[in-house]
Amino acid sequence: MHRHSGRRPWQITAFQRRVAFFSVITLLTGLATFWLGANLPPELPFLWQALVVTPFAVLFFWLALGFMTASAGLWVLNRGGLNRIASSPSTPLPPLQSLETTAVLLPIYNEDIAYVYAGLQAIYQSLEKTGHLQHFEFYILSDSDDASNWLREEAAWTALCREVGSSERIHYRRRKHRTKKKSGNVMDFCRRWGRRHPYMVVLDADSLMTGDTLVRLVDAMDCNERVGLIQTPLYTVGLDTLYARGQQFVNRLYGPVFFAGLHWWWLGESQYWGHNVIIRTQAFMAHCHLPKLEESGALGGEILSHDFVEAALLSRAGWETWLAYDLEGSYERPPPTLTDALKRDRRWCQGNLQHWHIIWSHGISNLHRFLLLGGIMSYVSSPIWLGWLLILTAIAVFYPHLTLIPLTTGNTALLALTIILLFFYKTFGLVQAARKHSIRKFGGVFALTASVLTETLLSMVTAPVRMMYYSKFVVQVLRGKKAVWGTQQRTGGGLAWDDAAREYGWVSLAGLGWGGLLLLVNPMTFLWMSPVLAGLILAVPLAILTSIQTGAQNPLFRTPEEVEPDFVLQAFEENHARMLANPCMSTRDLFTRVIVDPLAFRQHMTYIPQRSNVPEGTRHQREELVKRLLERGPGAISNSERLVILEDADMLCQLHTRVWQLPEAQFHEHWMSKL
């Protein structure tokens, strides 16, 4: 598809909205910055004044942006259905015209198989319920490099196909050469089967989507031929640690307002959040194969956070990307604890900082450049905030006689404005809950009020901890320290005191030192900074508190999904319990099973290709491996060596027979007893 000439109606609307939107943000930022600058003590040298005002202006801009997005969202939700891309969830389900199927992709990497497959089955069942299952096919795209996980995935795939009564609709593919992580995995699908499916829905391992939402997405793509991608709003569900439930509550109460607000100023230039999205396959294939960035510098190499870049590339090619802001049947899991969230942020930080290179690429739309910058700022704003606080501390130390923030009218107005921007959007979520008569689903008035207050307090005290970590991450990334992109922790909780002290002790110590210094030198500044210092000092107990498991019946942080779960969530729980009880989920060593059990061996043989062109040297090395295995049993070879054997059909055949022909003592000790 070529760049369309002429502006489309939504582009004119988007331009007008963005002008208004950024004008108000600039006005608010200018006003706040002026108030701050005008009220700084005149005795303070200009350089110090500049060091106070400049980072403040940057931080205030992003704060105002969040508030304005929420305000726009409230307006959209109350005006209803303007410029929507997908049909409203309250309207009857549209019929699907297309004869071709939409591919639902589930890229996985050493995941919790029972969880992942139970989710896929729930989506399948939900689609079946809509009567539109025939329009979809499912692809499990495995990148797993753990031999046991691979074998378990294969066995679970067979069990899943048997359970739903079809192997025609659910496919399994394991990639042997794992390049470019998830984006490479999806592109590999495109290369193999992209032509078969006009659209693909990309999921994450913890994604759940209702059949209703999937059908509406396909219908929206059918009806809008210029649309290359539709992102759904992501709602977090399913965990019961205090941290995760807090996230789920925030996401559910304030999420709809923010999603609607983002839609208002993004329109056809939406971001892509990596999953729970429908993509026009040919557009993606033609424009989104990511290059490797130049290795020079800390930010080079493979593009890690591919999603934002892919949306920008689609947009560059003239395709529209939208956010279906009011579709509600799209779920994921939050990280279970603060520690897990920070680990994920370490990876995302690296990925987002890399986008600095993409911002300067030719042809990227201005809005996408700004969105990429927004991703960078979500991490870089932390060192800016930290630096700003350190500057204030330095002024407090070097100029103890100065009252940095005197209680003037200007400063009072500034404080009021900051508090409004920080907290007032929360009332928007409450207004929406009241308007939709869903307060009961949040546990009633009392529980909802308690939840909002507790969450506000928690977010206030965790924000400084995040600031410290994000600052550390940014420095690490810029110094070239790479993050490990492994499997995400999706369950768990219960942090022990010594682990918490080891992980967060440095933050508490920094807070204590910082607070002690200010208390000694400038008690007034200490008071102003006390919310930040409290968060830092309490980092260790805070990490423990947020990791505790809360009962499902606890009314604190209750969400509508807990009170009235959708069919897909209920089906998931049932499938998960059933899948856990399935023999394929046994903890036994499946490698031994595949080698010894003729039926498991036969089953695995059907999944791997026959290769006859193995070079002589490699063949010789593999024969050595087999020899070692026969002499010393399966414990004698590593995971990567197991993978080599499991991928070599000839070697497996040989091994299967030779193991059965081993002398009795060896056979029993190394193999049969472990079956």
């Binding site: 010894v596 059990d597 002398p663």
Partner: protein
Amino acid sequence: MTEQLAQTLPNVVQMGSSSSMDAWTQAKKRANDYLKLHKLPDAEREQLLSRITLKLAHANVFNEPKLIQLFISTAQEELALLQANAQDSPCHCKQTETAPAPLPEPPNNKTELRAQTGPRFERSSIRVAPLQAISLLPQRSRQRPARHSH
């Protein structure tokens, strides 16, 4: 009948010592374990085992490792034969849910074993998206120096 025959086979091969007898029993047990894992109906498994034993009765091998090897390779041959017969049989497609699981191919079979875990590939080549940096400087025109014609 076959069961009886199998049980009397050690006599037929006239084993001279108890260790040879043990070797024979051990090898037979291994083959039996192997067949059991194929989840064949009991009668069919016993019949197969008897056939294997009968085949090897005249092999004149008394060494345990060698006997085990022979038993397993013969078991694999028999299983392959059984599967070939099952495929030739006109009613092999009418397997019910309680039918035994499919038998393994003989280990040296080079035929395409791969199951359809996905639709057939329709390979597409995909071009990498260019990400040249924008230039804020005015682009120099790439004109060749004019040739002087004489």
